[in-house]
């Protein structure tokens, strides 16, 4: 009751604040509108002649959107769709200036008479790519950019189908690496790559957030990136250096991804387009995972049984722990209940069965994923719109459940008066996820971790779900309470039917943007975004599910021979939901002015962001799905367990409430001289309410400066074959936010009372850390852009050097403090790298075209300073995937124990200390880190892609190869401790040392019993299990056919793609996929689809 009250008042509070916000913003907007009207009324009447005409390109086609200005005045006109313009000159004579992006500017004098002009604009041969890059605050022609931008246009973005935005960037952006070393057993939803897997230009931080900042339509986006429909994306720009990212300040240290969505265009006829595809995702390759065969597992059990390893388990008549079928047979045999021959026969029968086959047959399936997108757009002279809808349906890879996503996006832009532009958009997404409940989730890895014997069956001879031994011994469970308890056996396959997870979520984003041109060179804009999301989930375990049965039985006890149940019969329903509200407001002034050879563009403004989120839920027992009834239980008092002891009935709900606020000021200016050179400067200051951010609030603003020089415009330049050559450089700072540590000691209150004391309590979150500061990255970038004639070969070469200082690192501290580790500003990192991107069109005829692009990146991040002194090998060696900084070594360094081979007498693995071979493993793991071997980086120093597209008439074929070179990985290997205690095996077992002489042809240590975990740790983390991870993979192939017609159906395209085609070259001899980690390789995905434009 107390919690409910708290929650209620919390909502009231939030609503109230929201209301305040709304009132504030609405009044701002109203003020702005009034001002606009005022401005219109004050508009001066032109007094000179009326000039009109038409603007075309060299082929005679009308150019829409060319700018006509009268030099020295603020008078300006834009050409219409038919290329026509008309303008009233304020003075009797002057010069008309006609300009259009990518074309040479025309200066045409006029005198007092009205006149009709015809202008033909000539394209500028010397232009670099005719693209504009967006920083989220402004759009600038790439020609004038000084920073490092990677622009991915719509065509490139849509090379491959897929539900999410992030994974489409893999292999197409230069300097962007995807770290996929995860346990791929995690819910694998059709190629939806987590954003945290992405790294732009190496590592600038250790423990702070590593993912780049995502900006969608000018605002930082905190929602689920997978909610965005890629069919709505127009282009993506990556901001990689200080000049590009310092405008985003303290959150831009890992780079910025700016996503621009599609919009309607003025003066465009109604267009409809449709896109649909179906993808098939293969089942996971369970046999890729290293393990013993079922028969070998049984042999190990027989051996351990003879050694008495299981005796206490078998003789345990107090808790009756579960036993594998083999152990039951051996126990019966020993007690003389069955004959030796029968025991052998029964065991031999078990040897033939591998549970992985059952999982592949009864649990996994080939996923079929469907995607549909429809969009309509159009525009008149004062108004444009776009409306889009998308629907995605994906199956889960187990036989139950899947994901459905429905998105709607509406965009409107209108110009009520010339100087005012209003853009409003709404984006709505709805998600539905259905799955099996996560307790006892029927996936192979979960099964192996929690139960795990390789020869289990999921289905019995009659085809019904079979019992897997778990918890307590079956023979004992059969005798309990005269059979009056609920069935207490675990049948993994049953959980598919009897447990359910369901999530329904929706998110709505409302945007309004108002631009008003105060004077021709100065524009003011106000942008506001409101976002509201909610996610309602439940997990339902019906009374037949093992989770519920186990729960009910556990809280049952016998009283005078009668069953007393503390948990009522019926299902268990766990609801949990979360809500998010966010308000963002930005006001900005844009200044653009050109006079003679000079042009200046500048922006300044501030923005504020407020984000509130909360989580709550309820646990309901005795739930009846049909009647929607449940029975109250007592979560406060202790109830007796069936097997002794007592506890509180579990309540699975967590209540949380968060509120984050940010306040930022920004400024950015660029000066260009005669299109020859540009100088840019930017600055930003951020403040937030995050704990420990105080230093940030008081800190120096982040800033950058940059310059670019179009060398080809210089007088001395005379290289005809290279008509484009541009040099640019930037220097500046960006920062990194961290939210999990604080300068002050923090405590976290628990949602509910402690189950033992029934008292509310709080735990220490972080110890006091008064010297805490914030992380800062200094980046220097220099780049060269070039293109030969007709852009047959074009590309860019960039070098960067980033020094990250005061990086938060975790280091071991004196355990006497009460803490083993502390996070502290304790490291400096240095990253250096080169990004090279080269595109070429070796063949280019009207029928046949071959385009090829190679992206090659070199990136190395090294620890230059590290305050924590760690001296033991063990602090570094077994830590290969997490960060373990050591001065002078790579940030993600792999260390290994030095390997001295196997002892010829005993088959024991030998390490090397001070040049001597030794089997003193405690000494090896505690030896100074200098005695361990430094292998190299666990992230590739060289990586990139090579992409080819071949088009012959209407058919095009494209494929992309990825490479990652010069890095190291540690393979999984045999661990006897895990084998004996958890039945986790490895095929190396077959090659183990068994008798003297074996050491000549094997490196796998002898099996010893009792096991020694230090010996296992030494072997597993020794040099022989580390190898080069270098590999080249064929990422994808795409084949498409497109047809343009003169009918209503303007264009149709049919396509087929295949992704994750596999490794085509690898450096390791183990035949392993180095990036897979301990999971299965990414499955092959094949897609068929079409798109049609009307």
């Amino acid at each position: 009751m107390k919690q409910k009250l708290r929650l209620g008042s919390y909502y009231a509070l939030t609503k109230h604040k929201l209301k305040q916000f709304k009132i504030r913003y609405i009044s701002l907007l109203a003020a702005l509108t009034i001002m606009c009207l005022y401005a219109r009324a004050q508009r001066p009447e032109p007094s000179g002649p009326a000039l009109s005409g038409i603007v075309t390109d060299t082929t005679g086609t009308a150019i829409r959107g060319a700018t006509i200005t009268i030099r020295g005045t603020n008078t300006k006109a834009i050409t219409e769709r038919n290329g026509r313009f008309s303008i009233h000159a304020p003075k009797g004579s002057g010069t008309l200036v006609v300009s259009y992006l990518g074309h040479q500017t025309i200066n045409e004098p006029f005198d007092g008479r009205a006149g009709e002009f015809r202008f033909v604009l000539i394209p500028t041969e010397n232009m670099l790519e005719e693209v504009e890059v967006s920083t989220g605050y402004q759009t600038i022609p790439k020609e004038r950019a000084t920073g490092s931008f990677d622009f991915i246009d719509n065509k490139l973005f849509n090379r491959m189908p897929g539900r999410d935005i992030v994974s489409r960037l893999e292999g197409i952006a230069v300097g962007v690496d995807f770290v996929k070393q995860t346990n791929s057993f995690q819910y694998y939803s059709a190629r939806a790559a987590p954003i945290g897997q992405m790294s732009i230009r190496g590592i600038s931080t250790l423990y702070s957030a590593k993912q780049p900042l995502v900006v969608v339509d000018n605002f930082a986006y905190d929602g689920n990136i997978h909610d965005l429909n890629p069919n709505d994306v127009e282009s993506v720009t990556l901001l990689k250096d200080a000049a590009a990212s310092s405008i985003w300040g303290a959150r831009a240290g890992n780079g910025v991804i700016v996503v621009k969505t599609k919009k309607g265009k003025l003066d465009q006829p109604l267009r409809v387009s449709l896109n649909s595809n179906v993808a098939a995702v293969e089942k996971p390759d369970l046999f890729y995972l290293p393990d013993l065969t079922p028969s070998e597992h049984i042999d190990v059990e027989l051996d351990l049984f003879d050694r008495g390893h299981y005796d206490s388990r078998i003789n345990n008549t107090s808790t009756f722990p579960w036993m594998t079928p083999v152990l039951e047979i051996l126990a019966s045999q020993r007690e003389g209940k069955i004959s030796d021959a029968e025991a052998k026969a029964r065991i031999d029968q078990l040897r033939t069965h591998d549970v992985r086959n059952d999982f592949l047959r009864y649990v996994y399936r080939t996923q079929i994923n469907q995607q549909y997108a429809l969009n309509i757009s159009g525009g008149s002279t004062k108004h444009s719109f776009r409306a889009a809808a998308g629907y995605d349906a994906e199956m889960s890879r187990i036989q139950v459940g899947g994901l459905k996503r429905f998105t709607v996006k509406m965009d409107h832009m209108f110009q009520p008066i010339d100087r005012l532009q209003v853009r409003a958009s709404v984006f709505y997404v709805q998600n539905r996820v259905s799955d099996v409940g996560d307790a006892f989730y029927p996936e192979y890895n979960r099964y192996r971790v929690e139960t795990g014997y390789q020869y289990a069956r999921l289905v019995d001879d009659a085809g019904n779900p079979a019992v897997a031994e778990w918890g307590r011994r079956s023979s004992y469970l059969d005798t309990l309470a005269g059979g009056r308890l609920l069935d207490w056996k675990y049948r993994p396959l049953d959980e598919l039917q009897h447990s359910r997870y369901s999530g329904k979520g929706s998110n709505v984003v409302f945007n309004i943007e108002t631009d008003y041109t105060l004077i021709p060179s100065l524009k003011a804009s106000v942008q506001y975004r409101y976002e509201r999301g909610e996610q309602n989930n439940f997990k339902y375990y019906d009374q037949e599910s093992f989770f519920t049965r186990n729960q009910i039985n556990t809280f049952t006890h016998l009283e005078g021979g009668e069953l007393v149940r503390a948990i009522p019969l019926g299902g268990l329903m766990i609801d949990f939901s979360n809500y998010t509200y966010a308000n963002q407001l930005r006001t900005q002034l844009d200044f653009n002015k050109s006079f003679a050879l000079h042009s200046i563009s500048a922006i300044a403004g501030w923005e504020v962001r407020d984000r509130v989120s909360s989580e709550n839920g309820a646990t309901k027992y005795g739930y009846d799905e049909e009647l929607l009834t449940y029975k109250p239980v007592d979560f406060q008092n202790f109830y007796r367990y069936f097997h002794g002891g007592s506890g509180i009935i579990p309540d699975y709900v967590q209540l949380r409430g968060y509120q984050n606020r940010y306040l930022s000021y920004f400024f950015n200016a660029a000066y260009s001289f005669a299109q020859h050179a540009t100088f840019s400067v930017s600055a930003r200051k951020d403040a937030s309410n995050i704990f420990g951010a105080n230093k940030n609030q008081a800190g120096t603003p982040l800033w950058s400066v940059g310059g670019s020089w179009n060398i080809h415009k210089a007088d001395f330049y005379n290289l005809d074959w290279l008509p484009q050559l541009k040099l640019r450089t930037t220097f500046g700072y960006s920062g990194n936010m961290y939210s999990s540590i604080s300068a002050f000691p923090t405590i976290s209150y628990a949602s509910s009372v402690n189950s033992v004391t029934k008292q509310g309590y709080a735990s220490i979150g972080t110890p006091p850390n008064p010297d805490l500061g914030w992380e800062k990255s200094e980046i220097w970038n220099i780049g060269l852009d070039f293109a030969t004639k007709q852009r047959r070969i074009h590309g860019s070469l960039e070098y960067y050097r980033r020094t990250s200082t005061d990086v938060i690192a975790q280091g071991p501290i004196d355990p006497t403090t009460g803490f083993l580790n502390l996070r502290y500003n304790s490291a400096n990192l240095l990253s250096k790298g080169i990004d090279l991107s080269i595109g070429a069109s070796p063949v280019k005829t009207s029928a046949f075209e071959w385009n090829t692009t190679a992206n090659i990146a070199y990136s190395r991040s090294v620890v230059t300073d590290y305050l924590f002194k760690m001296n033991r090998s063990r602090d570094y060696v077994p830590n290969a995937t997490s960060t373990n900084p050591l001065e002078g070594k790579d940030v993600n360094a792999v260390f290994a124990y030095r390997w001295g081979g196997l002892d010829a007498e005993t088959g024991a693995p030998l390490g090397i200390i001070d040049g001597e071979k030794t089997d003193n493993y405690t000494q090896i793991v505690n030896a100074p880190v200098e005695s361990a071997a430094f292998m190299g980086s666990s992230l590739p120093l060289y990586f990139g892609s090579w992409r080819n597209a071949i088009t012959y008439r209407n058919i095009s074929l494209s494929f992309n190869m990825l490479f990652r070179l010069k890095y190291y990985f540690r393979r999984e290997s045999l661990n006897y401790y895990n084998l004996v205690n958890y039945r986790v095996g490895h095929p190396d077992f077959q090659n183990r040392w068994q008798r003297p002489g074996d050491e000549l042809h094997t490196q796998v240590p002898a099996f010893i019993y009792p096991v020694n975990s230090n010996r296992d740790e030494f072997y597993n983390y020794s040099e022989i299990n580390v190898g080069r991870a270098d590999h080249i993979r064929l990422q994808d192939i795409s084949l498409s056919y497109s047809l343009t017609t003169k009918t209503m159906l303007r264009r149709i395209r049919l396509y087929a793609t295949a992704q994750n085609l596999g490794v085509i070259w690898r450096a390791n001899n183990w035949n392993l996929e180095p990036d897979t980690g301990s999971g299965t390789p990414l499955p092959l995905v094949t897609t068929f689809g079409f798109s049609a434009d009307f």
């Binding site: 005022y38 501030w606 402690n754 220490i764 009460g818 083993l820 230090n1014």
Partner: protein, 448 residues
Amino acid sequence: MVRVVKIALILPLFFGCGPSYLDVRPDKQMRVPNTVADCMALLNDYATMNTRYPSIGEAASDNHYLPDARFNAQDVFERENYCWLPQANHRVAEWYYPYRVVFNANMVLEVLKGRASTETDYDLAKGTALFFRAYAFFHLAQVFAAPYTYGQTENYPGVPLRLDPAVSTPSERSSLADTYGRVIDDLTLAASVLPETVPVKTLPSKAAAYAMLARVYLTIQDYEHALQFANQALRLQNDLLDFSLLNTSSNVPIPRFNAEVVFHSLLQSNPIFATANCLVDSNLVREYEEGDLRKKVFFRENANGTHTFKGSYDGTFTNIVFNGLTTSELYLISAECDARLGNVDRAMANLKTLIASRWDNSKPLPRYLLEDDGDMLRIVINERRKELVLRGQRWTDLRRLNMNSAFASVLKRNVEGIQYELPPNDLRYTLLIPDDVMNRTNMMQNPR
């Protein structure tokens, strides 16, 4: 002019929000502790404050043993400690968990410095923090510092006495005299401010502070003071469980927070004590006479005649050892001190009260309680072992009793045909400080 007016109208849009805008707390459940209520919430963090005291001393003592197969199934830490190997090292958790208690206590005392002593629960928070700090220092000293005897080992290294929450101060070992001096001072101050009743037995009451003082003084063989504080505690709480009312067939016959418990705390989990591993010394089981209900309450007889312990005061049948303070321990301290100080009648009376509550009413009390055979001290010490079995006290008792040759014993383990011995007063009675601690500090390791 018009332009200026327009810009002036736009300007208000470019002033941000006031500084208070950023004062909102980002996480409702997270805060910087600064109230007495925050202090109490920290002290009520049961898992941190009450459940992780060092287990390796009890694991190395003699009330239990492991059959060979179970011994072989243990990891090297447990195996080496079990056999008292001179190089036996320990998991760092044995050290840093108790020091986390010290940190929390210091954190609370730091916050309280800024509060008025008149605030509600101020005294409770202060007394509780002092108690916990002393409790952690004392139990660390029982395994990582040498036994303390007045006039002999005062200057031996004790344990580091961290008295403020700053993590940057280097740790140094204090002397044994300082360690015990600090423990006694903190407990004495705690006793003066703690209330007589507390909401739950995981928080110390005044009786708990007295009981702890009795335990500490007994450990340093100051029997006068031990007697004084045991009796002071007993005056506040003296209930005993009537074992004849317990369900002896249950796997958990003794409930958690029962009437005997003065203060509830547990040793950290140690695989040695897992019910499947640990069997009770059969010689000890034989000591329980006909009519002694403890034999059935404390032990379960297995099919092969061995015994498994099930008498935990935590009310669970797991591998967790209760080491809290109870009235039964107070009766034993009082009786032992009286016996040592020559008050044999009073010792006998107290012992009788305790034993009577453990006895089957239909059977006569044991002969030694009915007729004084002149060796009262031996009787009490023998009863102490039988009562406090797997209660986290045996290691401390062995260290203390070894100092008197009459009560000293040689511990023996037989593992796979090899016999290991631990003679009285051996250096190995002081365990090695974990490597992880030694590697990160400049402290002195215990001698071998």
